[in-house]
């Protein structure tokens, strides 16, 4: 009854509705910030739950390899074809290997690996922690003198930050290999020339800046999964909502931070 009345009032009063949603947004940003700090402190200070950390390394890192690898090989192959066609318009087909390598290491490797992780891992984390919240397992953990931030959140954040750069390195390699495959099998590039062009052209910073991005994206993916799962309310529906929010917010934050980081790197390189 009361909530129906409240909804009615807010429908009649757009200013109040605006104020309420602004407050909710501020509260949400504050909540995520506090959560991130608590999670980071838990991840970086003892006691550590090494068994949990190992479990998350395997769940987040190892089991994401197939999906990240497949994404990378197809993207690399398609990118090679597109750049070959585009480059042909001004007789620059021969720089295709360099452009593919640059595109993969600086941008597509980290972003695609992160997006796959957002779909796979962020959702799984939100669903697992959300279900634990709904069935009082998180309350139970606290009554067993164990801090859920140390046991659940910390290991996932660490695993996200450490595993996504490794996955990205794998994606970079497989992505370039996808380009090479198309170039040598479909487009009559010489294998040796392709590889030499790629290696001679690429600079360490191209790869490293991508890996730094990946570490940030890994933190975002794990954080969004944990935050939305931890704050899930209202049973099965709440868990479903938490999963959706985790994936959507991860994806948006990945793109936004990708732009900010790229801007920062571009200025720093000058």
């Amino acid at each position: 009854m009361a909530s129906a009345e409240a909804a009615g009032r807010s429908a009649l009063n757009p200013i109040r509705a605006l104020g309420r949603s602004t407050l909710a947004a501020v509260r949400m940003v504050g909540g995520v910030g506090v959560f991130a700090v608590r999670g980071t402190v838990a991840a970086l200070t003892p006691p550590w739950f090494l068994g949990q950390l190992w479990r998350q390394f395997v769940a987040i890192g190892f089991f994401s390899l197939p999906v990240v690898g497949l994404t990378a090989v197809f993207t690399g192959a398609a990118l090679a074809l597109n750049i070959f066609t585009g480059g042909g318009r001004f007789n620059a087909e021969q720089v295709m290997p360099q452009i593919v390598a640059l595109g993969i290491t600086r941008e597509l490797g980290p972003v695609l690996a992160a997006l796959m992780l957002a779909g796979r891992v962020s959702a799984a984390i939100a669903a697992e922690i959300g279900a634990m919240r709904a069935t009082e397992q998180i309350d139970a953990m606290r009554t067993l003198s164990t801090d859920p931030f140390r046991y659940l959140v910390g290991p996932r954040l660490l695993a996200g930050v450490l595993m996504l750069p490794i996955l990205t390195a794998v994606a970079d390699t497989i992505g370039v290999a996808g380009g090479w495959l198309v170039a040598t099998r479909v487009l009559d590039f010489s294998s040796a020339v392709y590889i030499r062009n790629t290696l001679d052209f690429l600079q360490g910073w191209d790869v490293i800046s991508g890996l730094i991005k990946a570490a940030v994206f890994g933190f975002i993916v794990a954080l969004m999964g944990c935050y939305h799962g931890y704050n899930a309310k209202g049973g099965a529906r709440g868990v479903g909502r938490a999963t959706t929010h985790a994936v959507v917010s991860s994806a948006i934050l990945i793109f936004a931070s990708d732009y900010l980081l790229t801007t920062f790197f571009t200025h720093a390189a000058r």
Binding site: E136, M141, T143, S145
Partner: protein, 256 residues
């Protein structure tokens, strides 16, 4: 009247959700070694009462005292230390479904007390035997157990570190009458064996009378009746009578 310091006491505790005061100046206490059962209808604040004592919810007003010390607003670290003296059996047992039964029972020992796994496992199996679960159950996962067995495992987890205070949140909800009776018996055996103070909430009167020395009835965020378990069915308090007899009409008007 001279009384010993109660083990646990709520003093003028108020907890609001939005405009609604779920607990409205709650005063309640339980003496050391006694078992108190709080009864009352759904939504009358029974769960909230326990959650404020556990620090899972923070009251807006009032104090909660453990051995005479206020425990509202403790830091995380102090709270963690306090929890080593407390055992809780949650309504749905709240077993960790990614861990085996023995790892669940030994969770506190392994993760908070630093007991080696081998020894923790032995103690977990011992606790499982106390609640009449066979050692073979130890390596199964919670989802492979019936509701009654999950409750037993939850009870084993609550008592494994020999807590001073035990909380039971609706221990028999969702169980058939025979399993419920067995759980009630186990609870009262364990409380007696450990000499712990116990606080339970339930709307199951048979359960209340088996596990409680004293019963308190919560209505509209206040205690409206309290007495020895035996007096539950003889009191002439109109609220208690209506609840015990299960009538729809009376002083308690439910917004169904």
């Amino acid at each position: 009247m001279i009384e010993a310091t109660p083990k646990l006491a709520w003093k003028g505790v108020t907890k609001r959700f939005g405009d609604r005061a779920v607990l409205d100046g709650l005063d309640l206490s339980v003496a050391p070694g006694k078992s108190l059962v709080i009864i009352g209808g759904s939504g009358q604040g029974k769960s909230v009462t326990i959650k404020t004592a556990l620090g899972l919810l923070r009251p807006e007003a009032g104090q909660i005292e453990l051995d005479g010390q206020n425990i509202v607003g403790l830091s995380e670290g102090q709270r963690r230390k306090l929890f080593s003296r407390i055992g809780v059996l949650f309504q749905g047992a709240a077993l960790f479904d990614s861990l085996t039964i023995w790892e669940n029972v030994a969770f506190r020992l392994i993760n908070a007390d630093g007991v080696p796994r081998k020894e923790a496992r032995d103690r977990a199996i011992e606790a499982l035997e106390q609640v009449r679960l066979a050692p073979a159950v130890a390596d199964r996962f919670p989802s492979e157990l019936s509701g009654g067995m999950q409750k037993r495992a939850g009870l084993a987890r609550a008592v494994v570190a020999r807590p001073e205070i035990l909380f039971f949140d609706e221990p028999t909800t969702g169980l058939d009458p025979i399993t419920a009776a067995a759980i009630n018996q186990l609870i009262s055996d364990q409380v007696r064996r450990l000499g712990s103070t116990a606080v339970s909430i339930t709307h199951d009167l048979a359960s209340a009378q088996t596990i409680g020395d004293e019963i308190a009835m919560l209505h509209d965020g206040k205690i409206i009746w309290r007495g020895p378990a035996a007096e539950l069915r003889t009191t002439d308090n109109p609220y208690v009578c209506q609840f015990v007899e299960g009538r729809a009409e009376g002083p308690i008007s439910q917004a169904v």
